[in-house]
């Protein structure tokens, strides 16, 4: 059976971190499986975990007061779900639901935060990685506002 530290090291987000750090973070990690339709995260809930997706797809969106999930993005194998655990007040800013069976590594936020606070260099490395994800989401939102594939001669074909 594969050790969780190895599984974590194979994940795209953690592969970019120093091996020793991934090994330490594995102490805060456990494997988890969701069935299709199961909710991983609820907007407003306490962000006490985050997930490294190993297989399957997750729908991320926001839920209007009445109505079904307004889908923003799907996350897949190799993606990291969740940054709200790092940013006070540690409440989820979105909903996430498994579209199909999902295997993930769940990281326990309090454990990770404690380690990163005690080891600022490791904290910086992880925060930089999370900032990269947030920057990408911000860019996606900006491009969507500009109607990425839309009309207008300046936009080309």
């Amino acid at each position: 059976m594969q050790h969780i530290a190895d599984e974590l090291a194979e994940h795209r987000f953690f592969a970019a971190l120093p091996v020793e750090l991934t090994t330490r973070l594995a102490d805060c990690a456990s494997n988890i499986v969701f069935h299709g339709g199961q909710r991983l995260v609820s907007e407003g809930g306490v962000a006490d975990t985050f997930f490294a997706i190993r297989s399957g797809r997750v729908a991320v969106g926001v839920r209007p007061p009445a109505g079904s999930l307004a889908l923003i993005e799907t996350l897949h194998s190799g993606d990291l779900l969740g940054w709200s655990w790092l940013v006070p007040p540690h409440r989820w800013r979105f909903d996430a639901v498994a579209i199909e069976p999902v295997r993930a590594i769940q990281l326990h936020a309090a454990c990770v935060r404690t380690y990163l606070t005690e080891h600022p260099e490791a904290g910086y490395a992880v925060a930089t990685g999370i900032a990269g994800i947030m920057a990408e989401r911000l860019e996606s939102s900006r491009l969507r506002l500009l109607d990425l594939y839309g009309g207008g001669r300046a936009a080309g074909i």
Partner: protein, 281 residues
């Protein structure tokens, strides 16, 4: 920049008449026309080259070849965005248009032999890239891992749906589609094309990328590819500029020191990036 020779330009100025033999609806505002020469046809094109299509009494616009037929037929996929494209999209079987071409410098598919190929299309950008996919599938073993990433606003705006499905099922190339605004039946990825691109693996030391879509999309995609180590000289993009002669004579398509109609439309990111960084160009 040298204009094309006078003789070449003169030949290129004379439209050949073509008859519409098939009209296929691709999306709510795009159709594919199959054209047959009414008399003498034009020379056959290479992937990424374009023709000037002339709608009688309305005007003339550049349109890429969306498939290459060995039988003298032309295949163009056109989106209705204005006067001329509207006239072209309104054609029915038997309608006649004028065609000049082929023009431009297309995708250098040969330079991708032995390499991984990442093809990224946004919106109508799949039209000029489809001949590349056909060429690769025709000589599949000549290439390494081939990935096709297609982004569109919605599933209804994806071009060539049936063909995309069959490429996906055949699994000879890795096909990834992503839409920005999913409809209830959409089971694929949601997001923008760069979200899907990060999931594509390629060897930056031995890959070629071919990108076509709106300029803003191409800029972001090319930047991401550079960040992942792909040299800008191996990142090819198809540019769009206003065109009139199509033959390097009138200067309408000038972009910095280049004429997009003859030096492009396909150019490499190392050449294009500095030009697109100048707002007034």
């Amino acid at each position: 920049m040298q204009p094309a020779s006078e003789h070449g330009a003169a030949v290129a100025m004379r439209p050949a008449l073509y008859r519409v033999i098939e009209v296929g609806r691709e999306t709510a505002d795009a159709v594919t026309l199959v054209l047959q020469p009414a008399a003498d046809g034009i020379a056959s094109a290479l992937p990424g080259e374009f023709n000037m299509l002339w709608a009688s009494g309305v005007g003339e616009v550049p349109v890429s070849c969306s498939a290459l037929s060995g039988m003298g037929l032309l295949v163009h996929t056109i989106r209705d965005v204005g006067r001329v494209t509207h006239a072209l999209c309104s054609l029915t079987g038997g309608g006649v248009i004028g065609v000049r071409g082929p023009f431009g410098r297309g995708w250098d598919v040969g330079s991708a032999r032995g390499k991984d190929v990442v093809i990224i299309a946004g919106g109508l950008g799949l039209a000029p890239l489809r001949p590349v996919v056909h060429a690769i599938l025709g000589r599949r073993t000549d290439f390494g891992v081939v990935s096709l990433v297609v982004g569109a606003r919605s599933a209804a705006e994806l071009l060539f749906r049936a063909e995309l499905d069959s490429w996906w099922h055949e699994r000879r190339i890795a096909v990834r589609t992503i839409v920005d605004r999913p409809s209830s039946g959409w089971a694929g990825s949601v997001g923008i094309v760069t979200n899907e691109l990060r999931r594509v693996t390629f060897d930056p030391g031995n890959s070629v990328a071919m990108v076509c879509g709106p300029e803003i999309m191409m800029r972001v995609v090319a930047t991401r590819l550079t960040e992942r180590g792909l040299p800008p000289t191996r990142t090819l993009l198809s540019l769009e500029r206003n065109m009139q002669c199509g033959a390097g004579v009138c200067g309408h398509c000038q972009l910095g020191g280049a004429f997009v109609c003859v030096d492009g439309p396909v150019m490499t990111w190392d050449v294009v990036a500095p030009l697109l960084a100048v707002p007034e160009l």
